[in-house]
Amino acid sequence: MGRKYIAENDVIAWLDTLADDNLVIAPVAETGTVIYRPYLPGTEVELTNRPVSSPKEAVFPQTELLFSYKQDKDPEHPDRTKVDMKEATPDRSTVFFGPRPCGTRGISMFDKVYNCGKMQDAYYVTRRENTAFVTIACSRPDATCFCHSVGSGPADTEGSDVLLTPVNGGFVAEAVTDKGKDLLASPLFADAGKLEQEANAVVEKAREMLGDPHDFSEAESSLYNLFDDMDFWEEQAAKCINCGACTYLCPTCHCFNITDQNVGLSGRRIRTWDNCMSFEFTLEGSGHNPRPTKAHRLKNRLGHKFAYYPENNEGLVACCGCGRCIERCPSGVDIRAIVLAAKERSNVQK
């Protein structure tokens, strides 16, 4: 199937029809930021500025119900309790509209953890099957962007079902998957024709704006080499205040906590995003903590993305280069700079 075209004015009409049968989530400019909100006809969608949050919330909600339970007292033995559990089933068909390719690429990295041969997370797999991602290609990268240094780019289709490329007056649309083909079946789409070339030029220009990529090769071996070099990690972590903003904004950070919320005899078990930069994350019952300082924790976060995940996934770096962690870090920690510094330090030591 060739690429299609939809006028910017028709995008809302398209979302309206999609919202008839699906939950549609779209970016909305709100209180000085851009975040994802459920779309209802009349919602003003933000098409130009990149959402601050990542699309991972589509398949990995910040707070997610796993099951609810009810405890019953046994009338014969009032000191005993029986428990009924009810599993949550996230079965709503969803169209997730408006992430950039860097964000959606993160979904494909979740797949390798949450839906691989070894392990399948029932909640994730169900949401993933029920969700289509309509991604907008990047036409204006920021200074913090480095997708091209981690094997991605402004028109990366990894994780997406549809890729929209902004052109003058509208979007050129490409179906990446069968799910995407169905979404483009709407009569609001016409053949892209010559606009394809304009779309290609938009992507090419974005690529140029990104400049030369950083050389992150050998990051994996460098980070392993420096594992015991705590002087290096203390220096790199000096600025970090352990707030965890990086982990919550990151499209690939997938760590979570599980907790029970109890009211009387009923309650629910929930899964929530967690933050590996916090002291409590690995604190053990005995009081022992294998990652006791922020230097240990920053080392683990960097290591996870550029060494451990790649080791488990044929060299694939678990960073999509979106730069959110750099852009939003309150103390100016720059993941690019740390990886490059690690390479340099490791080379010096050799």
Binding site: D79, T81, Q120, D121, A122, Y123, F256, I258, N262, E311
Partner: protein, 277 residues
């Protein structure tokens, strides 16, 4: 949904609670679904997540043996919120169970070997399952030696087991405490020192050890002095865990997850990993 939901516990009933020490209780539980209890299979060393509903979940080794499937046994030391709530539960109460999780001791490669168990405190729990398994398959294994230590005689768990094992002539038992009481007839001394006195033969031997980090550190040194090679030393690790299935990101040591790649590791395997215990 997937065929099985890895995060969904099975409902189970506490059949019996044994007060082992002042702060350790052993729970014997059965799955409420009779068919699932009948079909339940695991190997020594595998762990499970126990739920105290309303408080949360924590990881414990299944310390009963797969050779005895009347119930699943977990020993719980009271150290935090979940363990405190579990300690309040009584026979007849419901708990949640997700098990079995993780890998197990390599009982096949240990066949024909002389096995030395070295347990400290609650670290005896994961050794118990393997020890009972080997006693139930006694002819498959060589000499079996148990060195089990605790702070005081009152801190030793599994006293019924110990009394039973002492009656047998096919297992050598050495008990040691840091501080003795007047009726104590075992050894007084730290585990690594007592181990050196026992002087188990490393040739054709496998040492299986679990206990607090400081004990492990000096026990490893003692074992090396006794001639045990890295791949003849087996231990089982503990880390803070939430999911137990390799997703939540807590228990990794480098690229390995203690919950799915462990908890059982040889010392040779541990040496390959970054030093983050």
């Amino acid at each position: 949904m997937c065929k099985s939901n890895l995060l969904m516990p099975e409902s189970a009933t506490i059949q019996e609670v044994v007060q082992e020490t002042a702060n350790i209780k052993t729970f014997r539980i059965t799955l409420d679904d009779e068919q699932k209890m009948k079909d339940f299979s695991f190997m020594p060393g595998q762990v499970g997540q126990l739920t105290a509903f309303g408080t949360g979940e924590s990881t414990f080794v299944i310390n009963s043996s797969p050779t005895r499937m009347d119930y699943l046994q977990f020993s719980v030391m009271q150290v935090g919120e979940v363990t405190q709530r579990l300690h309040q539960l009584r026979p007849g109460d419901t708990v949640g169970v997700r098990a079995p999780l993780g890998n197990s001791f390599d009982v096949e490669s240990m066949k024909g070997k002389d096995i030395v168990f070295i347990g400290g405190g609650i670290g005896m729990a994961p050794l118990r399952t393997l020890l009972v398994y080997m006693l139930d398959n006694r002819e498959e294994y060589g000499d079996i030696t148990l060195l089990y230590g605790a702070r005081s005689p009152a801190d030793l768990s599994y006293k019924t087991d110990l009394d039973e094992w002492k009656q047998r002539d096919d297992i050598n038992i050495h008990l040691t405490v840091d501080v003795e009481t007047p009726d104590w007839d075992g050894t007084v001394g730290l585990i690594p020192n007592v181990l050196k006195d026992i002087n188990p033969a490393s040739k054709n031997g496998v040492a299986v050890t679990c206990g607090p980090p400081i004990m492990i550190k000096f026990t490893l040194m003692a074992l090396q002095e006794l001639g045990f090679e890295d791949d003849q030393i087996v231990t089982t690790l503990e880390k803070r865990m939430k999911c137990g299935v390799g997703l939540c990101g807590r228990c990794n040591i480098g690229s390995k997850y203690v919950c799915i790649d462990g908890p059982v590791f040889t010392y040779a395997q541990l040496k390959e990993l970054p030093a983050e215990l």
